[in-house]
Amino acid sequence: MKPAESTVPQTNASQPLLEVRHLTKVFGTRETEVRAVDDVSFTVRQGEIVAIVGESGSGKSTLARMLLRLSEPTSGEIIMDGRDVTEIKGSKNLKPYWREVQGIFQNPMASFNQFYSVGRVLRKTLALTGEKYSKAEEREKLSEALKIVGLDPKDTIPKGAHQLSGGQLQRAMIARALLVDPEILIADESTSALDASLRVAILNVLKELRDRLGMTVLFITHDIGQANYIADRVFVMYQGEMVEQGAVDEVLGNPQHEYTQRLLADVPRLGGWGTEDESALEPASIG
């Protein structure tokens, strides 16, 4: 039997790595206003795996896009290393930020441009570091990153996305992020499109990155089972608001918010739902 890996984060207690203050994103104009993310605040420490849990429409993906600086917040601050990064604008100026914060997305097939090889995407990412590498060095770097996620460079670099499986592409996607050696990796539903047996393998890759490289991971998911497996802390989002945050044991063991309680009660389990909750039979709101 393997001893369980330590889940104690290697915290740098002095100061949080990432701090989010009152982050808000509003879509539409006054009449059609949708508050996708509504006054969300939290901090993330170095070396933590934080799961952000919520169903579709909870605003978790909008939050991820704002943290990746792919979407402008309506208001609020994202503080990284003591600096509000929402003030940085334009792809050129954001390059240093993207060396620190990288992302992987939900659909591995759509994440790769089908017209190019996997190697091209990786080389473009390596160029983000601003360093000049020779062809040989470049290849060495790519191979190194691919090996970390368990892929054979020879079988990956020249291939197009359609020639690899979903699991392989998602590993390549993680390798891509590793090339810039980021502080934070944001994984937005990155395992949802995968089959269960492949899913745990990807979750294990993310865990290893934290354990061996000290990477901080923000894992965004609708699946509370995955959050339970991988995370140190869990944030629960509901209708744009962050309704609960805390250590996994606390949030899942003793949920405070009514939504978290319902989520835990309704998630299907192999042994059946614990208590029969007849309220679930009541009609949902029509609207």
């Binding site: 792809s91 954001l94 441009n113 995407v121 368990g150 499986s165």
Partner: protein, 303 residues
């Protein structure tokens, strides 16, 4: 950094075609085209051959050469008879087809280029840029293009075939722009565009390298449509006497045939051949376009 994970097993099964020969791949590639496509392609090539190689085969260098009297019936000397000037209709047809094709291609390229630039920018940027560009596009669409064509053609003194091509091109881009905008605004939300952005790609390279490739097949089809409609527009202009001066086109042939009462005098050989050729060109190109659609759009293939 060292290997920390067991390697993922390679999926030998994913790509069974990987090791096959070039010939085999070529065969597979070509087998996705339907017989309809090959027919359309052959017809298009035949028309192109007629227009561009024909002049060298007949050996006639000056199409305006007078070969006989007015409206002579088809004979061994003049296969399709002579026109109102006593010029050989068959020779005129060859040169006319060439002019029509040149104008069509040039106008089609101009319209497609403008349409793609405007549609891509509008679709990719969204917001105010999109509203402004599409506002202009919609205004241009509502102006009846034939009226603009006539006004422009009258205003310009030297109506070379290039000037005519330019006039047709700059009045017919809006349809392409609208179609490209719709495509671009859907492609830009794909995850690979976000990913390229995360690697610091600027807007231009996002548009050209991430969005544009996904629309190439679509743009090719839009070009073929523009090409077809440009040829027909040129014919319409020419029939009104506003065609390219100093040259022959299928439309100009019809113009003279109408002016010189070929219908009343029963000289069918003056107006039937250009009419058939215009129809044939349009038919071949539209058939090509719709069979290309089948190739690019697998959903159509199924049904």
């Amino acid at each position: 950094m060292s290997t920390v994970l067991p390697s993922a097993a390679p999926d030998a099964a994913i790509d069974p075609d990987a090791k096959s020969s070039i010939l085999g791949r070529l065969h597979r590639w070509s087998s996705q085209f339907s017989p309809r496509f090959w027919f359309a392609l052959a017809l298009t090539l035949a028309v192109l051959f007629f227009g561009f190689v024909g002049p060298y085969l007949t050996g006639v260098e000056d199409p305006d050469q007078i070969v006989g009297g007015l409206y002579l019936e088809p004979s061994a000397d003049a296969w399709l008879g002579t026109d109102n000037f006593g010029q050989d209709v068959f020779t005129q047809l060859i040169y006319g087809t060439r002019t029509s094709l040149i104008i069509g291609v040039l106008a089609g390229l101009i319209a497609t280029l403008i349409g793609v630039v405007i549609g891509l920018s509008a679709g990719f940027y969204g917001g105010i840029v999109e509203e402004a560009l599409m506002g202009v596009t919609n205004v241009v669409i509502t102006i009846p293009s034939i009226v603009v064509l006539i006004l422009l053609a009258i205003a310009i003194d030297s109506r070379s075939i290039y000037a005519i091509a330019l006039i047709i091109g700059i009045t017919s881009w809006p349809w392409t722009a609208r179609a490209v905008r719709a495509q671009a605004s859907s492609v830009r939300t794909r995850e690979h565009v976000d990913l390229a952005r995360l690697t610091g790609a600027n807007t231009f390279s996002l548009m050209v390298f991430e969005v544009l490739p996904y629309m190439l097949s679509y743009i090719v089809m839009a070009f073929v449509l523009q090409l077809t409609s440009s040829i027909l527009q040129e014919a319409a202009l020419s029939m009104l006497g506003l065609g390219p001066s100093g040259s022959i086109s299928l439309g100009i042939m019809l113009f003279w045939a109408l002016l010189w009462e070929s219908i009343r005098t029963g000289a069918w050989w003056a107006f039937v051949p250009p009419t058939i050729f215009l129809t044939l060109i349009a038919f071949a190109l539209l058939l090509l376009q719709s069979s290309l659609d089948e190739v690019f759009n697998p959903r159509l293939r199924e049904s």
